[in-house]
């Protein structure tokens, strides 16, 4: 059918600007004077699709944006509880508010490649793992002592035309860049973020949420496929390694530099890389990222079994002062691999991940091996592109030295003192995007041999296996 139609459109082609369009100037400084423009971006408007609950934050966001500043405010709140096992049963609420301010130096000062970042945490609620579970692998990655604290404070500078090198200096939380598995990040358990070995073995659990550490990190991309990360940080995120590290540095502002050095390095291989070619008729490789890394900390580490005179620590004749060792290290590997891609729905993919970390120095480490592995399915239901279903497991092996301490304790106390071995958990989770600013995440975890097999303080047996259920909500303000 012929559909040629002669000039039937409305046209307002008479300069100067047509009245309706000329009413608003194109001068950005005058835009705020047009009341009609505020409506779509205001707080609580268009809640079904806006990316932020507070929209433009009463004009704060656009004002900051002009200066190259981005402000984000997020809340993660959850209720988790164990309905079986544990030292006791019950539910706890805990939450985390994170405020982050970044400044793009190109927009702010016409200085290319610079980024300034500062973030703060407000941690509230209770801690289920400490209250009820007594697990090594704590149930939630946001569990921490109640506090309001500085988290990260750093400046990053990129170099060269394709950003082949960048340097970050300042207070950094290493779980943001090192030992990261992309697919593990969907899960709730702490160990899918910062893993068990450094959490148990590094001073203060290492510079990871909610702690951070002064240092410098260099990232280089010798080729499009390979990235090398190397960082040197203070040996401990706290000045004093005795006691609760979060209480030792309660506001995150002590900036200790008195310890040894923590050196951490990682080499990453990724496919696809920028510029990778895919040829017609050939099967296309699936996306993957492999990482190999190490950390070494030059601080002093206490022996788990032997005292400073060579006696067993469990021996009543021991002086109770553990033998001191210089330094500690660990090696690790991380693999993320796409396993399957739907032909019917291109957003639907199945991905797997494995992360393993170990240390041969069992005398000075509580956990000498940790493993995480799992599967994630994106877009699991029709037209749920932003949802993810996942199932995964975590394993932490108690070192032979710590197990021997338990045996020694049983021997010297003439009791059946439980000997710790390993702790395993499985987790199933579904991340449901209610709106772009709100995600709801029901979660289920089951823990085998909590704490590796530690005694129940209220009974004459080990803590029984735990079923943990709960719900997390993420909100972007």
């Amino acid at each position: 059918m012929a559909l040629a139609i002669a000039a039937s459109v409305r046209s307002f082609a008479t300069p100067p600007p047509a009245p309706g369009l000329a009413e608003t100037s194109s001068n950005p400084q005058e835009q705020g004077q047009n009341p009609a423009e505020a409506a779509p971006t205001g707080p609580f408007s268009n809640l079904s699709r806006t990316g932020f609950l507070l929209g433009d934050m009463f004009g704060l966001r656009p004002m900051l944006s002009k200066a190259g500043i981005n402000f984000s405010l997020t809340e993660t709140s959850e209720v988790l509880g164990n309905v079986t096992g544990g030292a006791r049963q019950g539910f706890d609420y805990d939450g985390l508010t994170t405020a982050t301010l970044t400044l793009d130096t190109q927009r702010a000062f016409d200085w290319n490649g610079g980024l300034f970042n500062i973030s703060a945490l407000q941690i509230h609620g209770r801690n289920l793992s400490a209250d009820n579970l007594d697990t090594l692998q704590t149930a939630s990655g946001i569990e921490a002592d109640r506090s309001t604290r500085l988290w990260e404070l750093w400046f990053q500078q990129k170099f060269f035309s394709q950003n082949q090198l960048d340097v970050k200096i300042g207070q950094q939380s290493l779980d943001q860049e090192f030992i990261v598995s992309q697919n593990a990040g969907y899960f709730v358990n702490t160990m899918f973020g910062w893993p068990m070995v450094p959490s148990a073995d590094l001073p203060g659990g290492g510079p990871a949420y909610p702690l951070s550490d002064l240092g410098i990190r260099v990232r280089a991309k010798p080729t499009d496929s390979f990235t090398v990360l190397l960082g040197v940080f203070n040996g401990s995120p706290v000045a004093n390694n005795s006691g609760d590290p979060q209480q030792v540095n309660p506001s995150g502002t002590s900036f200790p530099l008195n310890g040894g050095a923590l050196v951490i390095g990682e080499i990453q291989y990724a496919y696809p890389a920028l510029g990778s070619m895919v040829y017609a008729g050939e099967s296309e490789p699936l996306a993957r990222t492999y990482k190999l890394g190490f950390w070494f900390d030059s601080e002093s580490f206490a022996d788990y079994r032997i005292d400073s005179t060579g006696r067993l620590l469990a021996d009543p004749a021991s002086n109770g002062i553990a033998r001191s060792h210089h330094g500690d290290y660990s090696l690790y590997a991380v693999a993320d691999q796409m396993i399957w891609r739907s032909n019917d729905d291109a957003d639907r993919t199945l991905n797997g991940f494995v992360r393993i970390m170990g240390t041969p120095q069992e005398d000075r480490n509580l956990v000498d091996l940790s493993l995480n592995a799992g599967l994630t399915l994106h877009d699991p239901l029709p037209h749920r592109d932003d949802d993810t279903f996942g199932i995964a497991l975590g394993y932490a092996k108690v070192s032979s030295s710590a197990s021997a301490l338990d045996r020694d304790t049983g021997h010297f106390t003439d009791s059946n003192y439980p000997v710790r071995s390993g702790e395993t958990f499985i987790e199933a989770t579904y991340q449901y995007q209610l709106t772009p600013w709100c995600q709801i995440q029901p979660d289920l975890q089951y823990v085998f041999n909590p704490g590796g097999g530690i005694p129940d303080p209220r009974a004459d047996h080990k803590i029984k296996d735990e079923l943990v259920i709960g719900m997390r909500v993420n909100i972007s303000f």
Binding site: M1, A2, L3, A4, I5, A6, A7, S8, V9, R10, F12, A13, T14, P15, P17, A18, G20, L21, E23, S26, N27, P28, Q31, N34, A36, E37, P40, T41, N46, R49, T50, G51, F52, D56, R61, P62, S65, K66, D104, Q106, R107, S161, Q182, P272, A273, L274, G275, S276, M277, V278, A280, E284, D336, M338, R341, A346, P382, H383, D385, D386
Partner: protein, 364 residues
């Protein structure tokens, strides 16, 4: 002989294998925080605030990331490597039904006039979309006209343009007619597909010193599938590119996952339906913007991975694809990141936008 053989052997089969660098030039976020860069064009002439070779980029979302609400056009100057605001359009105007949400449909004429598509929404979905319009902007960033009418309903994909100075022909895909919101679904649970998308040819007269005037408009193709999408706003025919001989218009049919040809596009007076299939499936994964490389091959960005695909239209064959966005934060990598691209003036590369990080990238 050996040298000659080696030289012949080394000759590139296509364009993409000659592209090795991907340089992030700058952020595309406007001063008012507009996000989600869609259209990208290279200025063909120096007029007003624009220098020949400048790159113009529009934003589809406002700072709350609501789709169909972006009102800004940014200007990147390759000589100074600076990005600046070129135009800030009013969010609401009686002249453009429903307001302004700038799409991938944008072109600049040699005379300096910029024509850009608007497909506005008030809630970020097609549920509240309006018919939209084509806005005419002068080379100083001032809007001077809005074209509406029964043939203009959801001007969406990148335009193809034939520009003779005092006359010009635009080709625009229209992907809005009768598209409901994303919650109206079919039996499989996906938003329903409405096969009413068209390609409109608009013939223009451009009087000296005055904005272009529509001389004629003709629907030259129709019946393409279009549907709402929660993340991409809508999916429909998106990319348009004119063959080097100026006779055939190529179009990316995103839902059918194919590239089609509309023969005699500048002169035909009838609709070609959904055209003639050039290539389908293979490396294509929801093809979006379309362009022509210096060797005459077609390039198209994939919507659901970070690849750009090269196609020999004469042979109807896909050569290969290159990953130009390999971000594994999305699955598959680069999913939903790519939209517009434009060849660089020297023909050695192309500019493209990454809408996940709101950046302009130059590949060469």
């Amino acid at each position: 002989m050996a040298l000659i053989a080696a030289t012949v052997h080394a000759a590139p089969r296509g364009f993409l294998e000659t592209v090795h660098k991907h340089i992030t030039r700058c952020s595309t976020i406007s001063e008012n925080g507009d996000l989600n860069p869609y259209a990208i064009i290279v200025a063909p002439a120096s007029v007003g605030k624009i220098h020949e070779g400048d790159v113009l980029i529009d934003n589809f979302n406002n700072m709350s990331n609501l789709q169909g609400t972006g009102t800004t056009i940014m200007r990147y100057d390759p000589s100074s490597k600076k990005m600046s605001l070129f135009a800030k359009l009013p969010a609401h105007s009686a002249l453009c039904p429903g307001g302004v949400g700038l799409t991938t449909a944008m072109t600049m004429l040699k005379s300096g006039w910029i024509i850009v598509g608007s497909l506005p929404s008030t809630d970020g979905t097609t549920r509240t979309k309006s018919d939209g319009c084509l806005l005419v902007i002068d080379p100083n960033g001032q809007p001077v006209a809005a074209w509406t009418g029964p043939n203009i309903n959801g001007p969406w994909g990148n335009m193809a343009t034939i520009d003779h100075g005092t006359t010009a022909t635009l080709f625009v895909s229209m992907s809005g007619l009768d598209v409901p919101g994303p919650d109206v679904k079919d039996a499989r649970g996906y938003p329903i597909i409405v096969k009413k998308a068209t390609i409109l040819r608009i013939d223009l007269d451009i009087p000296a010193g005055q904005p272009p005037k529509i001389k004629n408009q003709t629907v030259i193709a129709q019946g393409f599938g279009q549907r709402a999408d929660r993340d991409s706003f809508l999916i429909g025919p998106t990319g348009l590119a004119m063959s080097p001989d100026g006779k055939t218009l190529f179009a990316s049919d995103a839902l059918e996952n194919q590239i089609v040809a509309i023969d005699d596009a500048p002169t035909r007076t009838t609709s070609a339906g959904t055209g003639r299939t050039i290539t389908k499936d293979g490396l294509l994964r929801r093809p979006l913007s379309l362009g022509v490389a210096p060797n005459g091959h077609l390039l198209t960005c994939n919507g659901v991975n970070g690849q750009i695909v090269e196609i020999d239209p004469a042979a109807g064959k896909q050569l290969y694809a290159q990953w130009i966005d390999a971000d594994q934060a999305q699955s598959p990598p680069g999913n939903g990141d790519l939209f517009g691209f434009a060849m660089t003036p020297d023909g050695k590369g192309f500019y493209y936008v990454e809408d996940d990080v709101n950046a302009l990238v130059e590949a060469r």
